[in-house]
Symmetry: C2
Subunit: 207 residues, 2 copies
């Protein structure tokens, strides 16, 4: 399995770095063949919270891959109107066995036509916006519909990636990725998030 | 509050990007004045799992800060023998109200003399190694001893950062950071991590 992580200016750091970290240990042990970051050009990108990242490949020099992960972040608002990026996602996704989005990366999938007739989810603050585009939106932590996996906001990409790895590579692979990243959150909730305006369904149900 | 995130070649991506993400929204709303990445030089760093990052400041051109976060990763093995980095941490930490480490970043704190007489923790695979250096090691998700906060591995930096933000800036700040990053993990555990060799105490206790 070769996984490409899409990047762009204004990408949300953790949308990308969370799933990346979980894949990383499987790359190092050879379970995943390759993981890389691809952007329109190989130049320094400024992420949503200011981190600066340099992609590995440009669109026009991108190796083959089987799985595409599309993160979100405020930059997605510009990128859905960038035909070079949307065409890259559309054309490459057609050759992929699976496509994943994190947070508002779902809007890029939608623009590329990948959410037609599919159930999907996104960041809590963008659920209505995705619904208004005609997508069947569910308020789960993450959702799989066939070959398309979408997650709720930011940190949810980690839960999504583990579920995807368990499905694609087996429970042991997910267990190894989780243990290596010591991803055993303490689960503490500050304030009462389930009572906040915009709290997604999975959070309210879980309260 | 101004927070500096230390970086170096071979830094573990999520050690840095997880806490960074949680601080980010508080920077954008002005609750945190500034957050930046500092490294020995401003040049592209290759992280442990291959992500490429460009720091904002070099050691010799670094603005003042109140809080220092030291991530870990395999690069820490070289950096504990880098006097330029260890001196930077030692000297700047002396001017900080709090110092945080994630994962094996604890070894950099130890080398800088910041763990003397303190309880601390680190990545599950490095607990014994830290113990052998004379540190009083506890197997918690994270531990605070006075002004020094240390976390267990990789993803634990997020739990640490929320606890630190709640303490330093109030429960509301932590709640806002958590909600913005939608950090409500589903808590699923793959395999039986608590039975694995090396499983840290907090994970075994919690099983």
């Amino acid at each position: 399995m070769r996984i490409a992580f899409l990047a762009f200016d204004g990408v949300e750091e953790l949308d990308l770095a969370g799933p990346w970290e979980l894949c990383g240990s499987l790359v190092d042990t050879g379970v995943i063949e390759k993981a890389f970051v691809v952007a329109e050009k190989v130049q320094t990108l400024t992420c949503a919270r200011g981190l600066r990242m340099v992609p590995h490949h440009a669109f026009d020099d991108c190796p083959d891959f089987d799985v595409l992960l599309v993160p979100g972040g405020p930059g997605r608002r510009l990128e859905v109107d960038n035909p070079v990026l949307v065409d890259f996602v559309r054309m490459r996704a057609a050759q992929c066995s699976s496509v994943l989005s994190v947070c508002t990366g779902a809007f890029i999938l939608q623009k590329a036509g990948l959410l037609e007739g599919r159930r999907a989810t996104t960041y809590w603050a963008a659920l209505e916006e995705l619904c208004a585009l005609g997508v069947e939106v569910v308020e789960e932590r993450w959702v799989r519909d066939g070959t398309v996996w979408t997650s709720s906001g930011v940190s949810a990409g980690m839960d999504l990636m583990l579920a995807f790895l368990a499905d694609a590579l087996g429970e042991d692979a997910a267990a190894n990725a989780q243990f290596t990243a010591e991803y055993f959150p303490d689960g503490k909730r500050y304030g009462q998030p389930e009572l906040r305006e915009g709290a997604p369904g999975y959070l309210r149900d879980d309260a």
